[in-house]
């Protein structure tokens, strides 16, 4: 029983990590309809920025997040405006462009760091807290709480504010939204930058947990895509719960089946969801086709 609870807890905490990474991706995916293959690399960049803040200025990761997130917001504005906006109606070229960014970011960091692995580990990752008798790493608990808070805040933002309502309108039908006087291009710009800022938050909070490497984005991106497909296009609660589900599945499969096969579990999730319900568990049915039909 103790083991079971341990696996459950580690699965939930891992799920928190996936949720945190996926929320930004899903927002971009759902609204701008761009498959941002470079999202994992944005998280990676933010992790390095956080490390840099700590190493150069002694700013701890939980303060650095307030610096890194706005920086990533700015990067998002630039990328969306210069690269992705001109490719708005060409999904194939978007894939090339974001994949090019992935290769570019990854190797730029590799070139700068010369492949040296950095680690913020130390006081931040060693702290352990007790949750009903179970031991949990404090930094992972913080990630889980942050993911929960961000998901809730984002839902409030989307439900209650005018900008959020505009974003939801664009998710549902960009043409009608335009007719209602919503500036679709600006909504895209804002959403993409917001998604990048969320990658920044994720990177700052994950920096104490992982040893930094230029390729670390690859660890997140596939799980994040699985979460997006599972949770549903553009759905914030879908991304949050989907992240928890994937974390739990990976954790249990890693213990009860074989740690080496945990990635194959994603594949099974993928195919099952794709076959049964391509729009995801909490997405709008048909959403996976609407955007593309409109674009073609």
């Amino acid at each position: 029983m103790q083991t079971f609870l341990d696996i459950l807890l580690s699965g939930i905490l891992l799920g928190g990590i996936y949720s945190l990474v996926s929320i930004g991706l899903n927002l971009i995916f759902g609204v701008v309809r761009i498959v941002n293959f470079a999202q994992g690399e944005l998280v990676m960049l933010a992790m390095y920025a956080t490390y840099f803040c700590f190493a150069k200025f002694g700013i701890g990761p939980y303060y650095a997040v307030f610096l890194v997130a706005p920086l990533m917001f700015g990067l998002g504005l630039v990328v969306q405006r210069l690269i992705l906006q001109p490719l708005q109606n060409e999904p194939m070229m978007q894939i090339f462009a974001t994949f090019g960014l992935l290769i570019l970011f990854e190797n730029a960091v590799l070139a700068i760091t010369r492949g040296e692995g950095y680690s913020l580990a130390g006081s931040y990752s060693r702290a352990v807290i007790d949750i009903f008798g179970l031991k949990a790493s404090l930094s992972r608990v913080i990630v889980f709480l942050a993911a929960t808070a961000i998901a809730a805040a984002l839902m409030l933002f989307l439900q209650r504010t005018m900008a959020g309502k505009a974003i939801r309108a664009v998710i549902q039908d960009r043409q009608s939204a335009r007719l209602m006087g919503i500036n679709v291009a600006r909504t895209y710009l804002l959403t993409f930058a917001l998604g990048c800022a969320l990658a920044g938050v994720a990177g700052a909070l994950l920096a104490p947990i992982y040893t930094l490497s230029p390729y670390i984005g690859g660890n997140f991106i596939l799980a994040a895509f699985a979460v997006v497909v599972l949770g549903g296009l553009g759905s914030v609660p879908g991304a949050y719960l989907g992240g928890l589900a994937v974390g739990l599945m990976e954790s249990f499969a890693g213990y009860y089946v074989d740690p080496a096969l945990k990635q194959a579990i994603w594949f099974i999730i993928f195919v099952a969801v794709l076959v049964l319900r391509p729009s995801g568990l909490m997405g709008q049915a048909g959403a996976e086709e609407v955007g593309l039909r409109e674009q073609s």
Binding site: R33, I34, V35, I83, P86, L87, N89, E90, P91, M92, M93, Q94, I95, F96, A97, F99, G100, L101, L102, I103, L104, F105, E106, N107, A108, L110, A111, R114, G115, P214, L222, F225, A226, V228, V229, D258, A260, L261, Q263, A264, W266, F267, F270, V271, L274, V275, P278, E288, E289, L292, R293, Q295, S296
Partner: protein
């Protein structure tokens, strides 16, 4: 997907003779560097790789370019081809010349199996799903020690001989890859004029309209994927005997294999017959040059350039080098 411009699909079909003459000219032209450098192992290796990747990009182009189905999972078919040829050769002593056929058949079978559910998805969703399948298969290949040798991989011992498809002289590899490239390019010449080719291009232009016009969309996509995967499987088999080292990280690496096929097709010109050849003859030598020039001083330096090329090509070179040259030629011709 992107709606093709009128002159992309509605171009009146040339006579078969003219198309074949054009392709023959292209093939002769692409053989010239080999004829010039056949005794220089450095250049011959680059050319062998370029020919092989030209063939693989042309095979990807069948479903990715003509069919508009943006697969990032072709590394799977490539790896299946490579592992099958290597295993048949090592365990049963089957010559790779015959081994490529069961390998390609297996790659086709797997392609059909994973395409059937994923072809329900369109555009970017299809790309994500195929990329996920690529990663999952990489994990499986790492796991199944007995077939793939796990993370350590398979080493094919060097036993030179025509029957083993292992040569001491490097130019023989280049000649072999050139022959394979010719086969794939001629296949696309046929496809471009065949019913299936027209179906695939109709599906790319508008899937719903194609279905409304009476095309069995799923069947056309599956046939295109089968042909594409078959050729990719053969390419994987040739790759296996060429490098003789097979490990999951290099076979399933997206920037080096799965996405490379698409990248080469993009640089050359997606959905054209000669685009993949042009793209490979540009990109592979460029990459080698950059790796030699800056890869040593700046780790990953050549990939920084490659990533930038990818972004720039997506922004400014959507129809590839072939498309840009044709547009320039038209403008020049029109001005006269």
């Amino acid at each position: 997907m992107r709606a093709p411009t009128p002159n992309e699909t509605a171009r009146p079909p040339r006579s078969l003779g003219a198309a074949l003459a054009q392709v023959a000219g292209l093939l002769v032209l692409s053989a010239v560097p080999l004829a010039l450098t056949w005794s220089n192992p450095y250049w011959v290796n680059i050319l062998a790789t370029a020919y092989l990747f030209a063939a693989l990009a042309a095979a990807w182009n069948i479903i990715g370019g003509f069919g508009g189905q943006f697969s990032l999972g072709h590394g799977v078919f490539f790896a299946i081809g490579a592992y099958t040829v290597a295993r048949l050769y090592l365990d049963l002593g089957l010559t790779p010349w015959l081994g490529v056929f069961p390998a390609a058949a297996l790659a086709t079978a797997v392609a059909l199996l994973i395409s059937w559910p994923t072809f329900r998805l369109r555009g970017p969703f299809f790309a994500i799903a195929t990329m996920a399948i690529n990663e999952a298969c990489a994990a499986l290949a790492n796991y199944s020690d007995r077939i793939t040798g796990g993370p350590r991989g398979i080493l094919v011992p060097f036993r030179a001989g025509l029957a083993n498809m292992i040569f001491i002289e490097r130019w023989k590899y280049a000649a072999l890859m050139f022959g394979f490239m010719s086969v794939v390019v001629l296949t696309t010449v046929w496809l471009r004029r065949a019913r299936l080719g027209h179906y695939l291009m109709a599906v790319r232009a508008d899937e719903d309209a194609a279905a409304a016009a009476g095309i069995d969309v799923l069947k056309a996509k599956l046939q295109g994927m089968a042909l594409s995967a078959f050729l990719t499987g053969i390419g994987g088999g040739l790759f296996a005997m060429y490098t003789r080292v097979l490990d999951p990280p290099s076979l399933f690496a997206l920037p080096d294999i799965g996405v490379k096929f698409a990248l080469i097709a993009l640089i050359g010109g997606i959905g054209t017959i000669i685009g993949p050849v042009v793209g490979a003859l540009l990109i592979v030598p460029l990459e080698n040059f950059l790796r030699g020039a800056i890869g040593g001083d700046v780790p990953g330096g050549h990939l920084i350039v490659l990533g930038a090329v990818l972004v720039i090509a997506a922004l400014f070179l959507k129809r590839g080098v072939v498309g840009a040259v044709m547009a320039a030629a038209r403008r020049f011709g029109g001005a006269r």
